[in-house]
Structures are given as C-alpha cells and as structure tokens.
Amino acid sequence: MPGGHASELSRHMTPRALRCLVALLALLAASCGGARDEGAGTGRLAVTAGPTATDVARSTSRALAEDPATAVGAAANGDPDRGRALVLEYECNRCHDGTGQPAIATERHCTHCHEDIATGRFGAGTPRIAEWKRSVLPYRHAPTLDDLGKRLRPGWVARFVHEPYDVRPNLAATMPRLALDAGKAADLAAYLTRDAPRERDVALAGSAAAGRALMEAKGCGGCHVFSGVPALPSTPALGDAIRRTAAELAPDLRHTRDRFRRDALVPWLLAPSSLKPTTLMPSHSLTEREATDIATYVLETPLAPRDDTPVVKRLPLLARTVTYSEIERRVLAITCRHCHGDPDVAGGDGGPGNTGGFGFSPRGLDLSSYRSASAGLLGRDGERHSLFERTKDGTPLLVAALVARREEEAGRAPGDVRGMPLGLPSVGAEEVQLVETWIAQGRPR
C-alpha cells in the first residue's frame, strides 16, 4: 500500500527534515496553484480586456434598435447593420480610432505602428529604424471617427469613402480608394453617422465680410487652408507638437459646405469639443453672432473654380538605360513594398496588395524582387496577368496605376485602374518616367 510506504518512510525522517519537506511541498503547491489562477486569469483577461467584435456588434445593434435618432442612418439609404460588418471587412480600425470597433493589433495598425516607430517605442531594434522614422513622419495621424454623425453629412461620408480625395492639405492623403460600390459606401456612412439626429435646414443670417475679418483676426489660416477664396493670412504652425498635429488634421475649408452639417457649424465654432471631445480645434470664445458670421463666410462665400489643368504631365522616355535596381531604389522600395511584400519574410502577411487586407482579396502581387515583380498579379478573372500588360489606351498597367493615383488625389473621377500607391502620396513625374522607360526598354534587370 502506498500509504503504508509513506508512513514507513515518515518514521525514518527526523521531525525537522519532515517539516522542511512538508513546507517545501506546500510552498510549491501554493505557487503552482497561484500560477494556475494567474494563468486562468490572464486567459479571462485576454477575452474580456476589450469587447470582442461580436460584443460590440450586439451592443450596437441594441442601441440601434432602441435609439430613434439612429433612423438617420437608414435615411441616408444605407444600412448601419451592414455598415458595421463592413467596418470590420474593410479594416477601418486599422487606421482610424472611433470606429466603434476595437483597434486592430499594433503591428497591423497604420498610425499606431507609425507612432511607435516615430517615438522610439517600436521594438524591432533594427538598424533601419532611423530610416523608418524619417519615412513614417508624414503618416502618424488619421482622423478619429468619434461622433462623426454629429458633424458630417452621411451623404458626403458615403461619397468620400467611395471616391476619397485630399481634404486635409497639410496631411498626406492616405485614405485608400477601397474596393466598394456606392451601396456599400452608403452602408458604411450610415453606420459611421448612426448616432446623429437628422440635419435641420438652417438659414444663416450672418455677415460674410465680418466672418472673413474675424477669421483673419483669429488666425484661422494658421491651421486651415481655404482654397477658392483669397488666401487667409497664416502663421506657420511651428509651435508645440499638438499645434502641429492640429494643423495637419485641419481640413481645407472649401469642402466644409459639402461635408459639414449646416446645423452643426455654429455650435462647432462655439464649442468644438461639445461635438467631438478629442478635437484639437480650439475654442475661440466667439459670440453666437461671430460664429454665425464665420459660418456664413465659410458656407456661402463664392468659391473660385478648382484648377482643372491636367495633373499628370507624362514626361518623354529617357534615352539612357534604366535598370531594375534604379526602379527598386527610386520607386518600389520607397512605397510599393509596404503593401506588396514578401509574405515569407513578414510572418505570412505580404500586405493588402499581396495576401489581402482593407477588404481586398489576395492579389498575389509581390514587388520585393525582380523575379516576383515579373510574376504579375491575380486578375479579377482569377488568372495571372502581367504587371506590364497594356490597358485600353496602351499604357502599361503599372504606369496606369501610378498615373491614376495623381488623378485620385486631385479629386477627379477614377477610372478602371485603381491608383497606386494606395492611400499614399503619388510618385513624382520623374519616377513615372523612369518606370515607363524601364518597361519600354524590355525591363532590364
């Protein structure tokens, strides 16, 4: 009997040794028990630290059912329920806060990852971190989507999501042109503006001239551009980091009449944080009269038409030889590989343009080497196509994509080819010329 052996053994132990052994085992058992609790606790924490997508979806669904104000979302011809699912599908929470969904993991989150790199918190310990820091500086901010419906019109949100353009002149235009149709854009807009009351038609009876004078006196031009009107006097935003960030996020006021709710502009000017608690727009202690004057100027002053000269000047082909190494150094390595990378060296994630993301299905385009770039991409027909295949007007696909990005930035109607680099500033005319020359020369390695 085991118990018999134990009592036999215990007879041979000195009381002191027995006490030590019992104490040792008790200590071990206690620590292990604690560890199990801790482990289990950690497991529970991992599940409950933030609401899961399902939890959020359920709670939002309840809110939508209970709050009559959310009927506005449906009134914008979009379905907020479908929009909520689309926020996850298109990974809006990969760049934006305030989507109503938990932020995506930092290593896949645009601005969180860039912020970590810029502030030295990124733990890669790679010698290239200094180079990365320089690269990410223009891409540290994306506007939060908190309380969007209190300020912006659902219809404009839908149009912008469908065909984004450069709203914030001091911030890199990083909103990607997603693979969605107008119906899905309306669903997304309905979800993002779901908590807003219906917009009231407001007649503004202020003085536009007084509004202009006030804007000059208050220094609005320090952060905002207002294209289409005589330039507002500006002082460069060289102050603290918060002021610089505010200037980056400040939209071109030309777009206010399309994007901002007419009934929200005066309340916004009087107390910006009442409509968006996290805003960097300062309160200028305006009277209601002054706010109305500014709103009248911003919404009703005539605007000069936009400059419609062609954005893209296609430079002639170069006479000298252009090799792949030059294309790699000047174009591919700077922008393209962020989304068209080699999944074998990135834990299986080749980026949205290769293994999928932002709602894009995997297209299998890897621009990490000459060999992989020559292997083309998966077309919508499921077949492989060359990156240098000619489009309808005879332009190679790669060149057409680079050119299309410049058109998108200028707010022109996008064509069949999606502009590249997606959600990043367009490459310069000289870079396009290099790529075009390289292709015309037979793509020398």
């Binding site: 058992a29 292990c32 560890a35």
Partner: protein
C-alpha cells in the same frame, strides 16, 4: 545499521518529494519565481540563403550553389516543402545544378567531404543530380500553385531532359503569351526549344527578350540552355 536505513529512507523520501515537485511544476514558468527564456540562436541559414539568392541573381551561380551546400550539406535528404528556408535554399541549388547541366565544378567552393556527387563526375551522377533538381523545382512549383516564377524555373529544369522538353516548351509558351516569363534565363531556354523545333523567328524573338532583360549577354547564349 539503523542509522544507515534512516539515511537511506530520508534520501528516498526527499527524492520522492523532488520528483513530485517536478511533476507538479506548472507549464507557466512565471509560477516558479520569474520568467525563463531559452537562449535564442540566430539561424545562419536565413542570411546565408538570402546571400545565395542574391549571388544567383547576379550570375554567380557556383558561388550560390557552394554556399548552399556548405550551409546544408544534407539538403538532398530534406523535404523541400517542409520549411521556407529549405525551399529557398533548394531552389538555388536546383537552378544552379540545371544551369551546369548536373555537374557543378565546386571542388574549390566546397570541402571534399561535403562534395558528395554534386561534381557529377560520372554520367550517372550527373543524371541523378538533374533528376533531383527537376523533382525539387516541380515540388516548389506545385507548392506555389500558379507562381509564374516557379513555373519558369521548372521549365528551365525540364528542358534539360529529353523526355520532358515538350512539357518545358508548353509551360514557357503559355507564360510568354502572357508576358509572365520571369527571368532572362527562361527566355534563353525558350529560344533554344523553339530553335530545336525549327522556329527561327520565334527563337529570335525570345533571344531579343532575353537580351533586353539581361545585362549579361552570356546569359542569352541559347545553345547552352537545353542541350
């Protein structure tokens, strides 16, 4: 005697306690007074394979092959699809083997005890090397589904063997139609295959593409590519 049995008994009891403690120890090392980490050792094959791939791209075929054999002398015994690093290293060695027609003159690159049959001193060794290379390239192409780069390289290997030349040409013609041949070497092989089949114009066109892609004119010597 009595004291000896007490000592033995105590030792057995303590040993049982330690044994029990080992069994009770949790998987989570934090429970035992701090976290324990294994010493991380950097796998030199990753950087080595990277360099071998660069060497192959630069036309330093023997240097690339030698580097792979020195790093992984038993590579022939490994399952090529098992890990990415083995797949990448195998691809480099297989392509080098194909480009040297199964006989790699590596006596100065690789120590004698690692040379194995790679030097292809006999016809049987050379054929066995080519056989391994084509099997390897086929396994990679199969693992990478429709990847035109893997298919171009498979065709390069298949073109070395009489029985599979037709298959090689079929692959390359299909890729060429879509402008998806991924290397000048692929076009050089296509030129040779077209020449064999009496297509002089097709040969010229393929050689022109090869020369446009490759700064190294020697890479486009069609006569050495599918002999």
């Amino acid at each position: 005697m009595n004291s000896l049995s007490r000592i033995v008994g105590s030792a057995v009891f303590v040993a049982s306690g330690v044994f029990a403690a080992t069994l009770l120890a949790p998987a989570d090392a934090r429970a035992c007074g701090g976290e324990w980490y294994p010493m991380m050792q950097v796998d030199p094959r990753i950087q080595g394979t990277d360099k071998a791939e660069d060497a192959l791209d630069e036309g330093k075929t023997l240097a690339a092959a030698g580097s792979v054999i020195r790093m992984i002398p038993h590579i022939r015994q490994l399952d090529v699809t098992k890990t990415k690093i083995v797949q990448r290293a195998s691809r480099v060695l297989a392509l080098a083997t194909v480009r040297y027609d199964g006989a790699l003159p590596l006596s100065l690159e690789v120590p004698y005890y690692a040379q194995g049959t790679w030097l292809g001193r006999t016809d049987a060794q050379r054929r066995a090397n080519l056989d391994w290379a084509t099997k390897t390239l086929r396994a990679i192409a199969s693992a990478r589904h429709d990847d035109p780069a893997a298919r171009t390289e498979l065709a390069e290997g298949l073109a070395r063997v009489d029985a599979t030349r037709g298959e090689a040409r079929g692959i390359l013609e299909e890729l060429a139609k879509k402008d998806l041949i991924t290397s000048p070497d692929g076009y050089a092989v296509l030129a040779t295959l077209r020449e064999r089949d009496g297509d002089a114009e097709g040969r010229r066109a393929a050689l022109d593409r090869c020369k446009a892609m490759s700064p190294n004119a020697a890479a486009c010597r069609a006569d050495t590519r599918a002999s």
